[in-house]
Symmetry: C2
Subunit: 628 residues, 2 copies
C-alpha cells in the first residue's frame, strides 16, 4: 500500500470509501449513469473507437486524430473507476471489448497510435512538440492502471507495458536515442503510476528522464521541423528552462498542472527535494498571482494558459475545465507530502466551483471554458472536436472518493466533508470513520469512529481556510481548536474507542469577497461566497442586466433555502441592490456629461457551479459594489 518514503500520507483509495452524500451523491450517480455512457456513445459516433481497426483510408469520413486515443483512454479510466464503486457486468464486458480492440491496434514493436499508424505512418515521433503521441501514451497507461486496479485484469496493462517498454528504447540520453520529450506533459505522471503498480524501475527512470530533459538547452523542439504554432514559444510547453529552475507558472495551463503533478510524484519516489522546492515556488506564484476566485486557471485563449501576473479578466477568462482538474491533481499530490490546508483549500475551491461548473446537471453537456462573466451565448455542448474536458471531468468524478481522506500508519486525515464512510487500517487495526453532513449547504459535520477495540491514532480534520468561528466537540465536549491546529488541520491524537463521536461546526454566512487591488479587472467589485461555494448572478433570476447591478456595501445578503424548480435543495442569496441608469438614459446616447441615476433593484445569486442549467443566460461572479 505505501509506496513512498517521502510523503507524509497516502490517499485512502476510493475502493475503501463510500459516498452517501446529498451534494455529491447525485453528481456521481449521474456521472455513472449518464456521462460515462454519453462519452462512450460520442467516442463511437465520432470514429474514435473504429480508428483502432486501422482500416482508415484517404476519403473516409473520420480521419483518426493525433489525440483521439486520449479520449478513449479517459473513458476507460472513468469506466474502470465506476466499476469499483458500482459493479456492472455489462460495463465490464464493454471495457473488455474496447480493450481488445485497442490491443489489436498495437504494432509488433509495441507502438500504439492509430493516427501515426495509418494516417501519417512516416511521421512517428517526428513532431513531439505538437503531435501528442507521448501524451496519448500517458493516458493509455493511466487507463491501464485504473482498469487493472479496478478489475484485476491485466489485458490493458500488458498493452501499456509493451508500449512503455518500446518508448523506453526510443527516448533517453544514451547515444542513438532521441533526446526528446512530449510537448504536452502527461506521460511523466502516468509512468510513475505504472511503476507503482508494476514496481518496474524502468518506468520510473523514463519518467525521470522526461522531467530532467525538459527545458534543457539546446531544446529538442528546435530540432524538429514542426513550427511553433501561434508563436507561443517554449513557455507554452514549460520547456523554456529546466523544470527545477522554473519559478513562474507559464504557458498552457493543463500542461503545467500535469508537469507539476509528475514532479511531486517523482519527489515522492526519489526524495529529490529540488523537485519539491520548485513545486512550492510555482505553487506560491500560482496562488498569489494567477488564479481566479473559482479555482479556474489560465487567463488567455491565445495559449489556453497563463498570461501575466494579476491578469485575471472575468469575461475573457479561459479557465479551461481540464486546467482546474489538473490543479486538483496537483493539490492532491502536494497535500500528501505535507498535510497543509493551503493545498486542500485550493483543491476544494476548484472542485466545488471551476471543476463542477463544467458539467450540466443532467451530465451530458459540458463547458470547455469557465469564465467568471458572460455577455451572451456561452452554452454547454454535448461534445467538442477536442474532447479533453468531458472525458477529464468524468474520470475525476468517477474517482472522487479518492480525494476525501488520507492516512499513514498512525493517522487518518479528513480533507473534504462528504457524507459516507471510510474504511482504513491503522496500526494494523480496522478503523471506520462515518461522516454525516449536509455540507456545503449546512456547516455541521458529525463524525463517528467505528472500531473493533480501542486504537491509538491521530485524526486530522481540515478546518477550511474560508471558515471563521469553527467549533469542534469530541464526545459532546467542546475542544479548543487553536490548541489542536497544525497547518489548517485540527489534530486530535488519542486512544479512540468504538462509537466515539466528533462534531464540527462551521458557520456559513454568505460573505463578501474582495480581490487584490493588483487585479485591475476586479477593482470596485465584490463577489459572494458561502463556505467553499462561490456565487454568481444569472440573468434568468435578475430583471436588470447583470453588469448594471450594484450591491451597496450596507445591503445585507439574505440566505434563502430553495425548494422551487431547478434549484432544489440549493441555498441562494438575495439582496436589495441598485441598478445603474434604468430609466434616465436616452437610448441613442452613448456618452454624456450627466451621470446615470440609480434605481432600487432586486438581486439574486446562485452557486457558480450551477450556472447555465436553465437555458442560455448571462452570468457574472464579480458585482459592482457601492462602497460608502
Amino acid at each position: 500500500m505505501k509506496h513512498s518514503a517521502y510523503r507524509a500520507f497516502e490517499p485512502v483509495s476510493f475502493s475503501q470509501v463510500t459516498i452517501e452524500d446529498a451534494f455529491w451523491g447525485p453528481r456521481l450517480q449521474i456521472n455513472r449513469e449518464k456521462t460515462i455512457p454519453h462519452i462512450y456513445h460520442m467516442c463511437q459516433q465520432t470514429g474514435r473507437l473504429d480508428a483502432y481497426r486501422l482500416d482508415w483510408k484517404p476519403g473516409d469520413e473520420h480521419i483518426p486524430h493525433q489525440f483521439w486515443d486520449s479520449d478513449v483512454a479517459k473513458w476507460i479510466e472513468a469506466a474502470s473507476y465506476s466499476l469499483v464503486s458500482m459493479p456492472d457486468p455489462a460495463l465490464d464486458a464493454l471495457l473488455d471489448e474496447v480493450i481488445a480492440l485497442i490491443a489489436s491496434a498495437q504494432q509488433a514493436d509495441g507502438y500504439l497510435n492509430p493516427h501515426y499508424t495509418v494516417v501519417e505512418p512516416d511521421k512517428r515521433w517526428a513532431n513531439l512538440r505538437h503531435g501528442h503521441e507521448l501524451y496519448c501514451a500517458g493516458h493509455l497507461i493511466e487507463a491501464a492502471v485504473a482498469h487493472f486496479q479496478a478489475t484485476g485484469k491485466s489485458t490493458l496493462l500488458t498493452v501499456a507495458c509493451r508500449y512503455a517498454d518500446y518508448i523506453a528504447t526510443i527516448f533517453g540520453q544514451e547515444p542513438g536515442m532521441k533526446r526528446g520529450y512530449c510537448g504536452h506533459e502527461e506521460i511523466e505522471l502516468a509512468l510513475v503510476k505504472l511503476y507503482r503498480v508494476t514496481h518496474n524501475t524502468r518506468y520510473l527512470q523514463l519518467s525521470q528522464y522526461f522531467i530532467d530533459e525538459r527545458g534543457q538547452t539546446p531544446c529538442y523542439f528546435d530540432t524538429e521541423p514542426a513550427p511553433d504554432y501561434h508563436a507561443l514559444g517554449l513557455e507554452y510547453h514549460q520547456a523554456h528552462q529546466p523544470v527545477r529552475e522554473q519559478t513562474e507558472v507559464v504557458g498552457h495551463a493543463v500542461r503545467a498542472m500535469y508537469l507539476y503533478s509528475a514532479m511531486v510524484d517523482l519527489f515522492c519516489e526519489t526524495g529529490d527535494e529540488t523537485l519539491l522546492q520548485a513545486c512550492k515556488r510555482l505553487w506560491h506564484h500560482l496562488c498569489s498571482k494567477r488564479m481566479f476566485l473559482t479555482g479556474g486557471i489560465g487567463s488567455s485563449m491565445l495559449n489556453e494558459g497563463f498570461s501575466s501576473d494579476y491578469d485575471l479578466p472575468n469575461d475573457t477568462a479561459y479557465a479551461e475545465t481540464c486546467a482546474a482538474i489538473g490543479l486538483v491533481l496537483w493539490c492532491h499530490r502536494m497535500l500528501q507530502v505535507e498535510c497543509d490546508a493551503q493545498y486542500t483549500d485550493i483543491m476544494e475551491r476548484a472542485l466545488y466551483n471551476g471543476v463542477l461548473s463544467s458539467v450540466s446537471q443532467d451530465g451530458t453537456t459540458f463547458f470547455y471554458v469557465n469564465p467568471l462573466a458572460t455577455q451572451a451565448d456561452l452554452a454547454r455542448q454535448r461534445w467538442f472536436d477536442c474532447a479533453c474536458c468531458p472525458t477529464n471531468i468524468t474520470r475525476l468524478l468517477a474517482s472522487f472518493g479518492h480525494y476525501i481522506y488520507s492516512q499513514n500508519e498512525h493517522e487518518l486525515v479528513v480533507h473534504l466533508y462528504v457524507q459516507g464512510t471510510v474504511r482504513a487500517k491503522i496500526q494494523g487495526q480496522p478503523v471506520v470513520l462515518r461522516q454525516e453532513t449536509a455540507y456545503p449547504w449546512d456547516g455541521r459535520v458529525n463524525l463517528t469512529v467505528e472500531l473493533e477495540g480501542p486504537v491509538e491514532f491521530a485524526l486530522r480534520l481540515r478546518i477550511p481556510g474560508w471558515s471563521s468561528g469553527a467549533m469542534l466537540m469530541v464526545n459532546g465536549e467542546r475542544v479548543d481548536l487553536n490548541g489542536l491546529s497544525e497547518h489548517g488541520y485540527a489534530k486530535i491524537e488519542r486512544v479512540w474507542s468504538n462509537a466515539d463521536r466528533l462534531t464540527l461546526f462551521f458557520p456559513l454566512p454568505l460573505v463578501r469577497m474582495y480581490a487584490s487591488p493588483e487585479i485591475a479587472a476586479d477593482i470596485g467589485l465584490v463577489a459572494l461566497q458561502r463556505g467553499p461555494l462561490v456565487y454568481c448572478l444569472e440573468s434568468i433570476d435578475n430583471a436588470v442586466p447583470l453588469h448594471r447591478l450594484v450591491l451597496p456595501r450596507t445591503s445585507a445578503v439574505q440566505i434563502v433555502d430553495e425548494s422551487d424548480s431547478g434549484l432544489d435543495g440549493v441555498v441562494t442569496g438575495i439582496a436589495d441592490a441598485l441598478a445603474v441608469g434604468s430609466t434616465d438614459w436616452e437610448e441613442a446616447t452613448l456618452y454624456r456629461p450627466q451621470p446615470p441615476g440609480m434605481q432600487p433593484a432586486a438581486l439574486k445569486a446562485i452557486p457558480y457551479y450551477l450556472w447555465g442549467n436553465r437555458g442560455v443566460t448571462t452570468m457574472r461572479v464579480w458585482l459592482h459594489e457601492q462602497s460608502i
Copy 2:
C-alpha cells in the same frame, strides 16, 4: 467647382486654406518635414518601391506583397497634398521619379500590381476576397487625382485612367464579365474622385456597379477558391446583404467606413436617396452603439472591426487608426450633404483623439491600434508589415485644411476652429475669413471677414455638441445663439462688410463624461474631457497604478496650464483622488473577505492624443469613480 446637385455644400479645398495654428501648425509641419520623408524611406527600405522594377525572382529578400502598392500610393497622395501648402521642388521631382517607376510597371493592357505581375501572375483577379488588387487600384487612383490637382501634371492620372479603363472591361454585369467586387472597399470612392476630375461617366458607372453588386446573392466570393480566413463570414466585407439593406455597422471597420463614404459620394452624384438613407441608418447605429469615447471604432482584434452592440472594452479595444480616419472621411462627406453638427462633432472627436493619438509628437512612430487602457507594453512603432496606418495618417494630416470649411453659392461654413484663413468666392465675390484662436486650449475664437466690398451671405459657425454656454458677439454685440441655431450651427445671414468681426466663446471646463449603462466595460467609471479633447492618465504622471485610482465625484478637477518639459502649452488636469489598497493588502493574498482600504492619492490627466510620447507607460481613459 460644384460637382453635385445633391449636397448642400462643397468642402473648401485646402489650396484655399492657410493654417497658422498653435495646435495643428506644428503637427502639420512635422508631418511634412518628418513623416512624409520617413514613409518614403520606409517604402524604399522595405522594397515597396523596387517592387515596381518587376525584377523580383524567387529567393529575393523582399517579396512584393499584394497591398504594398497602397502604401506607395498613399505616400504620393500625402506628398502631393504637401506640395499644395508648401511648394518643394525636390519633393516634386521625387514624385516624378516614383511616378515614372510606377508607370514603367504598367502592363500593356493597363494592369498594374507588382505582386500579381511577378509573384503570382496566374492569380490575377483570382482572389478578390482577400487579394486587395482593386483596393490597391483605388489608392493608385486617389494618388493620381491628388497629384494632378496639386501639380497639374497628368503623368499618374494617365496611368490611373488606363488602369481604370482596363478594370471597367473586366468587371460588370454584362455576359463574360466578372460579377465580382473587392473584399476591401476603397476603389468605389476612388472612382468617384476620378470621375469628378475627368468627368468620364464610365468611372462613376463602375463605382456604381461595385456598390450595387456588393452583397447580392449568389455571393461572388463563394465562387472563389480562396478560403474565408478566420471564418469571419461575409459581414467582414460588408457583403452579407445588398448595401441598401444594411442597417448595422459590421465587420472590418476600415472597409465599412470606405464603403459608407463611397455610398455618400454616389448619392451626391446620382441623387439615389436609398444610399443616403442606408448611410443614415448605419450612422445612427454606429454612433448610438459601437463607438468609443475617443472616436475609435472596431472593438475586436479578431476581425479588426465591429463586434456586438455596446461591446466597447477599453483594454482590448482595437480602434485601428485607419478606422478612425475612415470615420473622418465618412463624417466629412455626410456633413456636406446636410450641414448637421452631429457629423462634425464625431469628426472632431475622432480627429482630436483616436486619429491624432496614432502618431508620435516627432512624427516617426505610429500606433496601429488605439485602445483606451493599456496594461504595459504598447509602444508606437516606426513601421508595420501592414503599413496602412502610418500612410493613412500622413495623407490625412497633409490634407487637414480640407476639413475646416465648406461653402456653397450663398454660404460659408466653419466646421473646425483652427487659426488661419480661408479664401472663398461667394456670390462671385472674393471672401476671406480669418480665424484667430488658441483652440482647443482656449475657447475664444475671433473671426474677421475681409471683403473688397459688401457681400450678402450666410456664415454658419459650428457650436460644438460638447459645449455648454457658448456665446457669440458680432461686431462687439452679443447675439442670441438660440435664435440662430440650425442643426448645431449658428447661421448668421447678413450683408457683410470688410473687417466685420465675430467672437465665439466656448467655456472649457474639464468635464466628467459617463458612458451609457449598456456599456458593461464602463459601469462605475468616469472619463475626463475638455472641449473636444478626451483626457487620459499615464503612469508616468501618477504614482499609483492607474487601475487603482478612484476619482470621487465630489473631488474637483483643476486645470493646469503646463509649461514644463514634454507637455509645453498643454492643459492638463489634476485632482485629489483615492487609491485602493496601497498598504493594507498582503502581497501573497489574492482574495479575502475584508475590503481593501482607500488612501489619498494625487491624480494627473493629460490629453489622450499625447499619450505614449514620454516612454513606455500604462494609460487609462476611464477611471473608477466614487459616486457618493
